[in-house]
Symmetry: C2
Subunit: 324 residues, 2 copies
């Protein structure tokens, strides 16, 4: 049975698995990305993990390629534009490195594109050829699928909706600009909104006893569950900001569904209801009621692994994997 070795590079951990052509994740392992201080020691540890995983194959399994998803991954040239939370800040030619090290063809894509492919082949978007995946975690990632293919863009950087402007001259963003969607709609955005509201309002809140650097989105969610009105208002505002942007996105690419994934989606209806309501309100009449907002149904750890494998299968077989 042919399998692909799939690798999901993340700032905290780097996960690896063998994935078969039916997108079964056969077994998973991981290395701790934060333990490595430079490119060399990180990739050396990653190669070892790949060899170990390859060595644990069952009889009859045959590795036919490697698929990698990574933040800053550029599918067009197989490089990673070093990101702040990876052990390398310069551009690294990852596909070339892997193909020098191993005998298998290697394919690399951005983590958010991989996650979108994962939803398309095994998650909430199975059977859809036009959909968008938005991952709400520390930041906001996005992968757009049109006519069954991920939109990579001219140089492999499409889908950066987290860095479109939501508020002119708004909050400072890691990218050096101000007012990006991601500074409002993300785990850290939730916390910033909570403090903004505490500063603006006089109402009581469970959150008033927590220092800025200790507040987490989960604490805001727990407070909202305990009927803390300020915390509920935080989610309402976050949902509205998201809904405004989703309306723009629907007007431009008109997907069948927008799939939300990532840690923040644990807030469920606190977030999705105001987002969906605002999105519908902001749409052209003829576009209303056409695009569903759904939650991902894949395990958090598996979406990107499955998607990186799907990207490899897609390239190995030269077919689009998402099709209705």
């Amino acid at each position: 049975m042919e399998v692909v070795l799939s690798i999901d590079i993340g700032g905290t951990s780097t996960k690896l698995a063998r994935v078969d052509q039916d997108y079964n994740v056969l077994n998973t392992t991981a290395i701790d990305t934060t333990r490595y201080m430079d490119e060399e020691s990180y990739f050396s540890a990653l190669y070892t993990a790949v060899r170990t995983l390859a060595g644990s194959m069952k009889d009859g399994e045959e590795i036919v390629g490697i698929g990698i998803g990574a933040p800053g991954g550029i599918p067009i040239d197989g490089t990673i534009l070093g990101a702040a939370n990876l052990p390398f800040s310069e551009r690294v030619e990852v596909v070339r490195l892997f193909e020098n090290e191993f005998e298998w063809p290697c394919f690399l894509t951005k983590d958010s594109y991989a996650a979108a492919l994962g939803e398309g082949v095994a998650g909430a978007a199975v059977g859809m050829s036009n959909f968008v995946l938005i991952t709400l975690g520390t930041g906001l990632g996005c992968g757009i699928v049109v006519n069954g293919q991920v939109v990579h863009g001219h140089t492999g950087q499409a889908g950066e909706i987290g860095h479109t402007i939501s508020v002119e001259n708004g909050r400072e963003c890691n990218c050096g600009r101000r007012g990006c969607l991601e500074t409002y709609v993300s785990a850290s955005g939730i916390c910033r909104t909570a403090f903004e509201l505490m500063a603006a309002r006089k109402q009581c809140s469970l959150l008033r006893s927590v220092p800025f650097n200790q507040l987490t989105a989960k604490m805001v969610f727990d407070a909202a569950l305990q009927q803390d009105e300020l915390a509920q208002e935080v989610f309402l505002r976050t949902g509205h900001t998201l809904g405004d942007k989703l309306a723009e996105l629907v007007t431009i690419v008109e997907p069948e569904a927008i799939i939300l994934a990532g840690g923040l989606t644990n807030a469920g209806a606190f977030l999705t209801e105001p987002a969906a309501e605002r999105m519908e309100e902001q749409l052209l009449k003829s576009l209303r009621g056409k695009t569903q907002i759904m939650l991902s149904n894949l395990k958090v750890n598996e979406a990107a692994l499955i998607g990186a494998a799907a990207f490899a299968w897609q390239n190995l077989k030269n077919v689009s994997v998402c099709q209705s």
Copy 2:
């Protein structure tokens, strides 16, 4: 030689031509759309024009299909959602009507999608597989090409960037909402901006002697050419509003080029320079300098005709027509 009969339905006139597989427009004719008061009389005149055009074929030409581009055209089901400036306001099943009337297979798409295809096969975007066409006329039309295919969206309504919001609670739009891009960046938007500036400022302007209902974008352009500072400021503001939106669009789909077409582009650098400058300023660093802004190089009357033919050829041969 195989040819397609191409039809470009517009609010003012409906143009027809025979187009060969190399996108040569063999001859053109037109009917006056405004002369017909209802669906029946309009289509009856259109059928007659089709028969006349088919009858004027040269020896050796063979019609293999009909391609139609129309405002409100839905490529997925071959219908036109009646528009305010067409002789029918309800949904009309145009492909079915044509296939009942004629022996040839018929394919219908939206006018802005056709224009994008036209640029892709014979205009400024030849050789590109990721680009956007924006038509700046009375309104603002948009066709997005990704991986060599026009983005139709889930129900055939993608690309309505003219109806994304530029100014919250801004100008009233024909669509019933407020602040749409099209109310700022279009011929009528230019006139509205001129009056807004005349109201806000005290500076002299050639435009102060023109009543609201007589001002045209061309008059604003002529004044700008005569160093009228207020008129020049109108184009600067329009360019900035356009540039802000193009930055959003580039961040989402990252095209190789944005092609501008339509009457307003006669203003040339008055419009494109502030648009390009603002777009670059508003982009993520890693996206700067990657997307060109270009002017269409097709004749105004031919872009949509060529594109409607390209849409028919694409469907007849089952291939994508835009590829690098």
